[in-house]
């Protein structure tokens, strides 16, 4: 006799639970008055220059969408203004940890976006996962981040660093350059590139004649460059951050030494900064990865193409955008599409929206393609050479052949 009662109670309890869940779901679906995007930037320290550029790009995007009434959020079927909540982490991971937590627990941001680069992104990953928030990762490309499946991490505006040098390796092999020297900073971003380059070269039978890691804080390359020269390389590849590149080119131009090929990363991202610090002559004929806007994507199916963006940015800010401005803007653009297609206003729906876009979307940074681990596999970087033009410099894409806009000048003439 007790069974029917038990069933009735169970049914009632299930009904109450279901109504409770439905009510809480309805409450969760109440449209916010603004979409809060929480992020960090560095006003000082090693990452200040790129970090502030990335934030400028994001702000530029937010200003654009707010002028048109806000970002369209499919879950609420209306436009909602965007608010950026940004704190200064001063390039410190300890400070960044507390500030990411601040954004999540105190500011209750709707979207959590990481600061520039792998170092300042790393500490956000467990915090985002703990709070079940999708971490929008614009430029943290450390290969170590993307080793297992996750719903809480998406690399948006930069390919994972392990895939960056594949084209460079192919270029070196295609030009039959046998003596290669590699000097890199001992950090994830640079060391993982060195590892990939070495693997690519070794597949082609080339073993580096010099292979050396230096601290990320390295600021004097004079002795190192002479040591490299003693190994008689044809190509010298220097993987570092912008400040390392500046120090490297200072030392190289001061040494009077010359190599047939010199490669470094940041002329392709922050050319104006490098030109200002080391001069046009020191950079002439250097090889680099040209990052949009220096490499142009005319055909996009999301947002403006590179040319339109550069024009609009220049008109608004009276200066040309750099790669990190573009990355910040592109991140905003991807988030806009994510909000515009996610059927519910939840972090898992946001993540699914990104997965759904993957492989079908081309922005001003190229193809957007992420895998289930959150790694960006699109937005591949070609190899370009910085060539003198008048009093300035221009980029000529030299590899792969299907993207090339000119031929590589190798060996590079002595300046």
């Amino acid at each position: 006799m007790r069974r029917p009662f038990q069933r009735a109670w169970t049914a009632c309890a299930a009904g109450l639970l279901a109504s409770g869940l439905a009510l809480s779901a309805a409450a969760a679906q109440t449209a916010p008055s603004e979409i809060k995007i929480g992020t960090l930037y560095a006003s000082s320290g090693a990452f200040a220059v790129p970090s502030q550029s990335q934030l400028q790009g994001l702000k530029y995007w937010a200003a654009g969408v707010n002028r048109s009434g806000g970002v369209f959020v499919k879950a609420f079927d209306k436009k909602i203004p965007v608010k950026i909540v940004a704190y200064d982490d001063q390039s410190s991971t300890a400070t960044a940890t507390t500030l990411y937590s601040q954004l999540v627990t105190q500011d209750h941001v709707n979207i959590l976006m990481a600061d520039f680069g792998s170092v300042l992104t790393s500490v956000a990953i467990p915090i985002a996962a703990e709070h079940h928030m999708l971490l929008i990762d614009p430029t943290g490309s450390g290969a170590n981040f993307f080793t297992r499946k996750t719903n809480y991490l998406a690399d948006i505006s930069i390919p994972t660093s392990a895939v960056w040098p594949r084209v460079l390796g192919d270029f070196i092999l295609a030009h039959k350059i046998k003596r290669v020297a590699i000097i890199y900073d001992s950090n994830d971003f640079d060391a993982s590139q060195a590892t990939t380059l070495k693997a690519t070269l070794e597949k082609g039978g080339v073993k580096p004649v010099y292979d050396h890691g230096v601290p990320t804080s390295e600021s004097n390359y004079t002795v190192l460059i002479h040591t490299i020269a003693a190994s008689h390389p044809d190509a010298v590849v220097e993987f570092g951050y912008a400040l390392n590149d500046i120090a490297f080119f200072h030392a190289l131009s001061g040494s009077g030494l010359h190599f047939k090929m010199t490669f470094s990363i940041f002329p392709g991202q922050l050319l104006a900064l490098l030109e200002k610090n080391v001069g046009t002559k020191a950079l002439a004929y250097t090889f680099t990865y040209p990052v949009p806007p220096l490499v142009v994507y005319d055909k996009t199916n999301l947002g403006p193409n590179t040319g339109t963006f550069v024009k609009a940015w220049t008109a608004a800010t009276k200066s040309a955008p750099n790669a990190l401005d573009t990355a910040g803007f592109n991140t905003g653009l991807i988030m806009q599409h994510m909000l515009g297609t996610a059927p519910t206003f939840t972090q898992l729906a946001f993540h699914q929206a990104l997965i759904d876009m993957s492989g079908k979307t081309t922005t001003l940074l190229g193809e957007f393609k992420i895998n289930e681990n959150g790694a960006q596999l699109g937005e591949q970087l070609p190899v370009a050479q910085v060539v003198p033009e008048g009093k300035g410099l221009k980029f000529v894409i030299v590899y792969p052949p299907n993207k090339a806009t000119g031929k590589a000048i190798y060996p590079a003439p002595r300046n």
């Binding site: 200064d88 410190s92 300890a94 507390t98 937590s101 792998s118 703990e130 950090n187």
Partner: protein
């Protein structure tokens, strides 16, 4: 009138600390700020054990912190030990490093400080070396996110802070601590009076290293994904030194007050007025050096208040 028991004051400090940090997460949900505050309080207290009682200022204190962080992470990665045991062994690893660096005590004053700084950078460069990638992760950093447990690591850090404070109270009240302070004032006279200088100084050094190692272990547990520079950055040494000096070294509550107030100020400006951060923080340090060279605790000692 009966004199209060010697351990009443320190006992009250320990109870107050435990109560504050047990309740604080219920009042302020950014547990990360509270955790980092406790980390710096423990480090300031650990540094106080050495500098406050012996006068040896370890600029490279972060070396022990990083050693603890890496030892804990490696034990978690390569063994099936519980994380708490790994944190304890992280403290032990720092003690072993302390023993190896024991000969630094042949130096004194700034020579000791600089040699200690160099030692911490050597440890950093060994850990971050790419050749050790299969073991330490080298420059690629280390991930122990499978054991990430913010609440458990918070409780562990609180226990470490209490242990550091209890040790400081012991140093302050015991015959052992008296010997250390005598040695600080005049090592030759202390030696003639029967203080075993080498032994006592080494014990203070190892206790200080253990606290930093334990704090590093709990910090790594809380961070769970990090690069070598995150746990070997000199900023950690600088903060521990500034916080301890701000509160007043050689006391029990000075480093706690200094770290709590300055870190709260640091976190507060960082959130409310980040654009003025360096200006305000720098100004505060300048004012401290000019008007309170012996730290906040000296405000109380001038009025004959026992600062423990």
């Amino acid at each position: 009138m009966r004199k209060p028991p010697a351990w009443r004051g320190p006992g009250l400090v320990l109870v107050a600390l435990a109560a504050i940090f047990a309740v604080a997460p219920r009042l302020y949900s950014n547990e990360s700020v509270l955790f980092t505050m406790m980390t710096f309080m423990a480090l300031a207290q650990g540094l106080n054990l050495l500098y406050g009682f012996t006068g040896y200022l370890p600029f490279g204190y972060v070396g022990f912190f990083g050693t603890g962080a890496y030892a804990t992470s490696l034990l978690v990665t390569f063994t099936s030990l519980p994380v708490i045991a790994a944190v304890l062994l992280g403290g032990l690893a720092a003690v072993v490093v302390g023993l190896i660096l024991g000969p630094l005590f042949r130096l004194s004053g700034p020579y000791f400080s600089i040699a200690n700084l160099a030692a911490s950078q050597i440890i950093y460069n060994v850990v971050a070396n790419e050749a050790l990638k299969p073991i330490t992760g080298g420059p690629y950093g280390i991930k122990i996110e499978h054991v990430y447990a913010p609440t458990a690591s918070y409780v562990t850090m609180l226990a470490i802070l209490l242990a550091a404070t209890a040790l400081a109270a012991y140093f302050r009240r015991s015959r052992f601590g008296l010997g250390l302070r005598a040695m600080h004032q005049d090592p030759i006279s202390a030696s003639l009076a029967g203080v075993d200088i080498v032994r006592e100084r080494l014990i203070a050094w190892l206790a200080s290293a253990a606290i930093a190692g334990l704090a590093g272990g709990a910090y790594a547990w809380n961070l769970s994904v990090f690069y070598p520079e995150a746990v070997f950055t000199l900023q950690i040494s600088v903060f521990a030194i500034v916080f301890a000096l701000f509160g007043g070294v050689g006391t029990v509550i000075g480093p706690l007050l200094g770290a709590a107030l300055l870190y709260a100020f640091y976190a507060g400006i960082g959130v409310s007025a980040p654009q003025y951060f360096e200006l305000l923080y720098g100004l505060l340090i300048v004012l401290l050096v000019l008007f309170l060279p012996n730290g906040l605790a000296s405000l109380l000692t001038r009025r004959n208040v026992d600062v423990l």
